[in-house]
């Protein structure tokens, strides 16, 4: 399972970085989205990966990390998802404003050679 998650994070981050370096604003938004997915998975995997273990304490089960998964990274991921979602929405608004003011979708507001 670790390999699958690692490859997923790698692919997401690589495509994200590539898209961020592109000249169109929409590609940059997509790149930031993919990168934030990669980061979220990364935080999640920092709590070490388990199958079938809960983060909530149950009666009769010893309270250690052998029997439970770490709840903190899950809480962190939740916060990170909300924040990155809000920031993407905000970025889209600025993107539209920039498109309206400059008349093109280049990140610098003007095409090369103009």
């Amino acid at each position: 399972m670790e390999e699958v998650i690692a490859i997923a994070i790698g692919v997401l981050a690589a495509s994200g970085v590539w898209l961020i370096l592109r000249p169109r604003t929409f590609q940059v938004v997509m790149g930031l989205c993919l990168l934030s997915y990669g980061v979220n998975l990364f935080i999640f995997s920092m709590g070490s990966l388990f199958i079938g273990k809960e983060p909530i304490i149950k009666d009769g089960v010893p309270q250690d990390l052998l029997n439970y998964t770490d709840p903190l990274p899950q809480a962190l991921v939740l916060t990170a998802i909300v924040i990155s979602f809000a920031m993407t929405a905000l970025f889209l608004v600025v993107l539209l404003a920039s498109r309206g003011l400059t008349g093109n979708d280049h990140v610098d507001g003007r095409e090369l050679g103009e």
Partner: protein, 559 residues
Amino acid sequence: MSLMNQLIVAPILLPVLTAALMLWLGEKHRPLKARINLFSTGLGLAIAITLMMWVQKTGTTGSIGVYLPGNWEAPFGIVLVVDHLSALMLVLTGIVAFCALLFALARWDRAGASFHALFQIQLMGLYGAFLTADLFNLFVFFEVLLAASYGLMLHGSGRARVSAGLHYITINLLASSLFLIGAALIYGVTGTLNLADLAVKIPQVPDGDLGLLHAGAAILAVAFLAKAGMWPLNFWLVPAYSAASAPVAALFAIMTKVGFYTLLRLWTLLFSGQAGASAFFGGDWLIWGGMATVTVAAISVVAAQRLERMASLSILVSAGILLSAVGFAQPSLTAGALFYLVSSTLALSALFLLAELIERSRSANDIALDEDADQLPKALESLHPVPGTNLDDEQKAVVGHVIPWTMAFLGLSFIACALLIIGMPPLSGFLGKLTLISALLNPLGLDVAKDEAIRADSWTLVALLIISGLTSLFAFVRVGIKRFWTPQEHAAPMLRLNECLPIALLVGCAIVLTFKAQALLHYTQDTAQALHDPQQYVLSVMAARPIPVPASAAAQVQP
């Protein structure tokens, strides 16, 4: 837990409640909102000053107030901590915010929607970032202050702002991703996010995990260095700050200092001398990276023509000096750096406000903001009169022009700001740089005999401090001549009291600092001592105990 401890959370609650109130008022009632905002910002400043006096009063070097917002013990719940450094930054933020707001009330708050609410949310983020002692909570406050700053950055709209804002947002979103990766790595290695707990855990990290820990810390540092403006992560800063409207740019003068504050706080706590194998990790990077920043910015400032651009580049010069000085991990140098931080932030903030007034009065030779970056300054031909010109108008004896008070005010404030930023005597900017140089040349103090030679990097920083002052001097003198001494007649600018008062306040604060330098230097020396010996901080945070639940409430919770 005393009343003062409860006051620690007030700088965060006050702005968020004010912002909520103003959003509830909607788009109408602008004068009312302006008054509420001013009152709330003033109250925030008063609270910050109270906290600063309390921190000074309660003990010797390391008096620290701890507040547990969730009433959970330290490593498990979020902690807010006010110590010397936090209190200093709170007061500085309060002063700058109050002046920026006063300036905005003259004109700028009418240039777009929700200025007052965004302003308060920005303050909440700033105060929160200075108070929190938890890595992830720090991320949340960073996002709060950034979200508000995106709105403020675009305030007033216009092509230059939106274009620079797009880059500003992208780079900050990227930095936030790096912040999360770094925080996650550190959590993965140490199992905690509480700063005091991290300081305890890091010396115990096994050798096999050190690489991972250092990678995490380095990634985290990249995020903060991008915000603090270290070269080569600072290309976003100059276009963004010079495009922002004047009061917003004045408030942003404190924003790079947030990055610097976070670096100082984390580095001294996590990688202090007691951190074992990780002690002073990355110090050389701070020293040399800071010096590279000073070099690049000091050269660029000579080529700048608009005052906003010069102010932004001066921010980079001061950011570089601060980062480099802190990297030496030497208490006397850190104390000097903090003194320099206060004086340069006040002066830069005033300069951003002043820049707008000066450029407004000089619409004639305006250079468009986008073109300024590509052009080199022209020679000052206009200063040389054509041969044969009689300089006395209409052959009359020159009796003397009365300089309009507005021009006199702008000119004098400009000189004061320039002296402060360049670091020339007699104002506090000079004292700041002098303290830095003296600490670099006498690492053990003036009265202790030296037994080892001064390091090469110390000499380089001394040279850069002097050279950067010299290039700033060139740049400011040229712009000053162009703006104030050109022979063409200009109508005196119209200034409102609301626009002059904040500049006078900021410059006045910096001048008072010149006379009261000893008091602030004592304070920053205490701060530096406490920072470089984090034992007291760790003990205070770990010793904080939650308030016991009242008996009656406990009975109700039980079924």
